[in-house]
């Protein structure tokens, strides 16, 4: 039991992660505005929220904002906890033709829908003044809840499932990479077995990452596959590692196979690193943090998300490592069975 503490840890971490991922409530946010094009004069629209409490406490305040230009909407009617009817008197001259919508109430704090309305028939004037006083400060919410993001909605929970697949793949393929270097340094069968087991398990996690990413992309980005540098990079590395298995299957001589595969694997890991960690920094794409850090920055993760995400990464990596150990033990057994004399 004590020897297998990390397996117990993996179980407990994943139990916590799955429970938290499904049970922690999504914070309040705005989903849509039913009328998106406004003309000068009186306009009316219904703002649809998610997990909001428009009907609790005081009536919410509504702002249409672009940079530092604010226009105050008037709440005509609170229809339900997630629905309000709002009117806006739009002037002729405005600074911008696209405005975000902010709804602020005591229970939910400030919720926002970016680029919610488009103005038609207005005169653009960079010197146009603001039309009402901007909201003071931002209501801080201290609740332990998953932050609401436009378009993503509840699927932000996939952060605890899809993303750790890639972390796990990186970690397990790193084991394979190190084993291959060790093999070239000192040709022992054990290192070849480790590299092979690691790459097979790594490919499994890459496949899971690709499929889950594809499903997530369909319902947030709109297509099963989009031209994102990280997606194409992931597919290419997946095919390279499949090439590793094909290469192994094609060489009969055991020592030669191990040596060639080790060299191939070192190149494969370097390419994996370049395609998934370096190139996405220099190109535009849909994954978070493009044109900079391909991972996360302080704006993408808040503290309650971190409290679930970091245990998720550790838990999935430990589970992947466990599966890798099983595969390795099987490889050793196979070797012992077929080459009993020198095992």
């Amino acid at each position: 039991m004590l020897k297998n503490w990390w397996k117990v840890l993996a179980f407990l971490l994943l139990l916590y992660v799955i429970a938290a991922s499904f049970l922690v409530k999504l914070g309040p946010g705005l989903i849509a505005v039913d009328n998106t094009s406004f003309q000068p004069g009186q306009n009316e629209c219904i703002i649809v929220g998610y997990n909001t409490h428009f009907d609790a406490g005081q009536a919410p305040e509504v702002y249409f904002a672009h940079d530092s230009t604010y226009m105050c909407g008037a709440v005509e009617e609170v229809i339900a906890h997630d629905r309000i009817r709002v009117s806006l008197d739009l002037p002729e001259r405005v600074k911008s033709s696209v405005f975000n919508v902010y709804v602020r109430n005591t229970r939910d704090g400030t919720t926002m829908l970016p680029n919610a309305i488009y103005l038609e028939g207005v005169e653009l004037d960079a010197n146009a003044e603001g039309y009402c006083t901007p909201p003071v400060g931002k209501n801080l919410r201290l609740a332990f809840e998953i932050p609401f993001q436009p378009v993503i909605f509840e699927t932000i929970r996939n952060l605890m499932f899809h993303v750790p697949m890639w972390f796990t793949m990186f970690f397990i393929m790193l084991i394979g990479f190190i084993s291959s270097i060790k093999y070239l340094n000192k040709p022992k069968r054990e290192f070849d077995l480790r590299a092979e087991a690691a790459n097979r398990v790594g490919i499994t996690f890459a496949v899971l990452g690709l499929i889950t990413g594809s499903i997530w992309a369909r319902f947030t980005w709109g297509s099963w596959w989009v031209n994102d540098p990280q997606l194409n990079g992931a597919l290419v590395t997946f095919l390279i590692y499949v090439g590793y298995l094909v290469l192994r299957a094609g060489i009969d001589d055991e020592q030669k196979r191990a040596r060639v595969a080790a060299v191939f694997n070192i190149f494969a890991y370097v390419i994996l690193f370049i395609l998934l960690m370096i190139l996405p920094r220099f190109s535009e794409g849909l994954h978070p943090g493009k044109g900079g850090n391909p991972g996360f920055n302080s704006y993408d993760l808040d503290s309650s998300l971190r409290a679930i995400f970091y245990p998720a990464v550790l838990g999935w990596i430990l589970l992947g490592y466990w599966i890798y150990r099983l595969r390795l033990r099987m490889n050793r057994l196979e070797l012992k069975l077929y080459y009993d004399e020198d095992a």
Partner: protein, 74 residues
């Protein structure tokens, strides 16, 4: 070899979906958008669970085969 075949098949399937990605939304897909897209999370979690179990079943079978051969050798 069998695993290679299935991986190859998967690659072909994924590549075809790249080129044949339909822009229309079927009624089945429509339901995925309901209740804040929560079903997408369920689908993703299910895929991972199924994937890991399939891998374990394959591993199980290979170990079974090794056990049988070890028994035959003795």
């Amino acid at each position: 070899m069998k695993m290679l075949k299935s991986i190859g098949l998967l690659a072909v399937l994924m590549l075809t979906s790249v080129f044949a990605s339909a822009e229309t939304i079927s009624p089945l897909e429509e339901t995925m958008f309901s209740s804040g897209k929560m079903l997408v999370v369920m689908a993703v979690a299910a895929v991972i669970l199924i994937g890991i179990f399939v891998y374990l079943v394959i591993l199980d079978r290979k170990i079974k085969r090794l056990e049988n051969e070890a028994e035959a050798n003795n």
